[in-house]
Symmetry: C2
Subunit: 218 residues, 2 copies
């Protein structure tokens, strides 16, 4: 246990922000404690999944008392929303012809959801928890929007020469509506016909949809 | 207050099922109490919305004690899942040419979501609550599936003569994936570009998607 963590544990009786309550503790200590909690939370959520990960295990990993985790983050759900770092790992599909981008995007997201259950956990949380919903909007703004813009520019749909049929930002929104709807029905609501379709069928059917939202017209 | 309700209120101290705990009480009384709770819950959820409707108000409307509501249903979320009766009011679009069905379905669902907030409440609940998710699968099986089948048969896509490119059940699943994804991004996650599109734009862009899932091929 590092001196920083011992210091945090040694002051369990103070108010909702131990640093604010004790002017002798420098801000850096609080920041470091938060960072240690988030680091441990990310590893636990990734390794155990949202449901099985516990505040207690995360606190143990961060070498601090569970009550400190609750003091900083209030609930497991809020900690998850704060910790969740999702790298969608969107490739630039540089070697792919433009007409294959829609199918490639569908396949990529199916693979990511299958390999990282915390992405589905964030979707569940986002439906009821404002912090998680905000995190999803941030992921959209940071990762989905720019990636779709890059693909659209490469394919010429938003070149300076021609007015696009729809702003790229809204194309990214439509793409997200179909992809998150697939995740919702397949992994969360477990709608039988959607669960029953295999990867190739889903890519075949949803690929042209994403392709049109990305580069086409209504 | 009816004699039935007075009887229910008069036995608050018994076990988790007051009827099972008292063989002198006929099953019909329990059924009638449940029916009164569900009737009151439906009206409250419809009038006040999920968040503002309270167990206390529902119990008052049903003229029984709030503890009885909790005894029968355990939580507001479970009561909601049990009470939620959603008539999607899917018309048969009998006067519409087949090529307009996709756009008509998108417009219909946008209208239903805007006019009945409990539909979005069920979507939120379904993301985290198994009973609500089960209710959504039931609505799909009872209403969406048959309606899509009727539309597909009318348009000839599943006529006995020709093998359809995709079973109608899976067509209904794909349609649901796009429509619920729209509801999720627009009304729950509040994704800015999807919130920012108006009804006509959404019908224009999603109509062809639903049309292809309903009657087309990949």
């Amino acid at each position: 246990m590092s001196p920083r963590d011992q210091g945090a544990v040694a002051a369990p009786g103070v108010g909702s922000d131990p640093v604010a309550a004790d002017p002798a503790v420098p801000p850096r200590r609080s920041d470091a404690t938060r960072a240690a909690i988030l680091r441990a939370a990310r590893e636990r959520f990734a390794a155990d999944g949202y449901d099985r990960a516990t505040i207690r295990a995360i606190a143990t990993d961060a070498a601090i008392d569970p009550s400190m985790v609750m003091r900083y983050y209030g609930s497991k759900e809020r900690l998850f929303a704060a910790a969740a770092e999702f790298d969608l790992r969107l490739p630039d599909f540089g070697d792919l012809p433009a007409e294959g981008l829609g199918a490639a995007l569908v396949g990529h997201f199916l693979d990511r959801w299958e390999e990282d259950e915390t992405m589905i956990a964030l979707l569940r949380a986002g439906a009821t928890n404002p912090a998680a919903a905000q995190r999803m909007r941030q992921i959209f703004a940071d990762q989905v929007g720019p990636a779709i813009r890059a693909l659209a520019v490469r394919a010429g749909v938003s070149s300076p020469g021609g007015e696009p049929a729809l702003p790229v930002e809204q194309r990214a929104g439509l793409i997200t509506s179909q992809l998150l709807g697939l995740a919702l029905t397949r992994y969360v609501l477990l709608l039988p016909p959607v669960v029953g379709m295999d990867r190739a069928e889903l890519v075949d059917w949803l690929g042209p949809t994403i392709q049109r939202y990305l580069l086409g017209r209504p």
